[in-house]
Symmetry: C2
Subunit: 219 residues, 2 copies
DNA sequence: GTCTATAATCGGATAGAC
DNA sequence: GTCTATCCGATTATAGAC
């Protein structure tokens, strides 16, 4: 995403029309893949770009050709995290659908993200826990409006008598927290479960438990 | 806590019996206070001990007299976090008491910790999200057994027919996640609420919501 | 686009005087 | 216990050749 086409001009007569750009995307993908992993494990300051470069198979200086500063790499990682998450959660909350169906789908989607993109979830979590110092504005503009929309939908259901009159904001916080934790706190969960990592069954149990909790309090 | 009495021997005849030790404790307290704040905001690598020292009112070299390595400071911070948390949560789960009462108290205590010690909660969260690389063993020995005890109590209640047959492990994960998030994700919550920080009312609403969810799914 | 070289700074840690 | 001085590796970033 956010593909810059800076150096098409560097391909003067262009034998193969988009080869440079294509190569750039492959390299960027490799860099970003390793960057998410390291940022999730050690945070922004704890991650040396030299190590990202090494794992991605290029030199530190070469990495800085693609991402001129460490901050630009970090922001790009978070941009991609948000892009992915927003695409999956897009327009899930529809006030005209059955609340139970919507909430089931919402929990399932959020939990699926925790399962499939735990590193993305952790990078985002670390940024928020640290006070969202580098990415606060983006969260304000891209995440908060969506959360407020979801809350508005919950409140609509309450006004229409479709669900019990709970605090819609804190209901959303609860759903977010429970689903998010299966990515962020998996290290502690695996210690409790005495297993190497969470598996499909754990996520099924989680979905059952969370869905039960959410729906049972809305009757 | 964990007060080492190394240099009582440095007070040769001792005019005022414990003055050296007392002074040490004051300095350590100041250091630890600033260390929690910085570790919570920037993580382990992101925190220069020079800045901890400056905020605590001493030189970097002087700080290293009290904490010989950065790791020892970090571990001490986490030790204190755990001490505080364990003291508050000690023996809350009693299989002979009424489940509803126990769970209400459990949620309230955990939420109170999030409100009163958000920095402690965040340092711990960051360590876990990063994979608990430096503190995993301590978590295994000091936290996991307690969580397993709590789970066992829940399962006892289920066996005795006192609560509905839910998945005890994931119920605990859910309670942990929801309460923890009011410390860890407060930056995002305040953005959604459009307020500078969470206040007493927010925590009351949170407690009501979480308690309702937990209890309603156990009938 | 990739490489070599290097600048410039930071950060943890140690030595030794007082 | 505190201070001055200092070492040394790591790290971001830039310059310039190919």
């Amino acid at each position: 995403m956010t593909t810059k086409l800076d150096e098409i001009t560097l391909e003067p007569v262009a034998g193969l029309p988009g080869k440079r750009v294509q190569h750039r995307e492959e390299v960027e993908t490799a860099i970003l893949r390793e960057a998410v992993r390291l940022f999730a494990e050690r945070g922004f300051e704890g991650t040396p770009i030299a190590e990202v470069a090494e794992r991605a198979g290029l030199s530190k200086q070469n990495l800085m050709y693609y991402f001129p500063t460490k901050q630009s790499l970090y922001k790009r990682v978070l941009d991609d995290v948000l892009d992915d998450w927003l695409a999956r959660m897009a327009s899930l909350a529809d006030p005209d659908q059955d609340p139970a169906d919507v909430l089931r789908a919402y929990v399932a989607a959020k939990l699926r993200f925790s399962r499939e993109q735990p590193l993305a979830s952790r990078v985002y979590a670390m940024e928020v826990i640290g006070g969202a110092k580098m990415y606060g504005e983006q969260i304000r503009h891209r995440v908060v409006p969506l959360l407020r929309q979801d809350i508005a939908v919950f409140e609509r259901w309450i006004a229409d008598g479709k669900i019990a009159p709970v605090n819609a904001t804190h209901l959303l916080f609860a759903v977010w927290a429970m689903t998010q934790s299966y990515a962020d706190f998996s290290a502690q969960m695996t210690l409790v479960l005495g297993r190497e990592e969470l598996d499909a069954r754990d996520f099924e149990e989680a979905e059952r438990m969370i869905t039960t909790m959410v729906l049972s309090c809305l009757n």
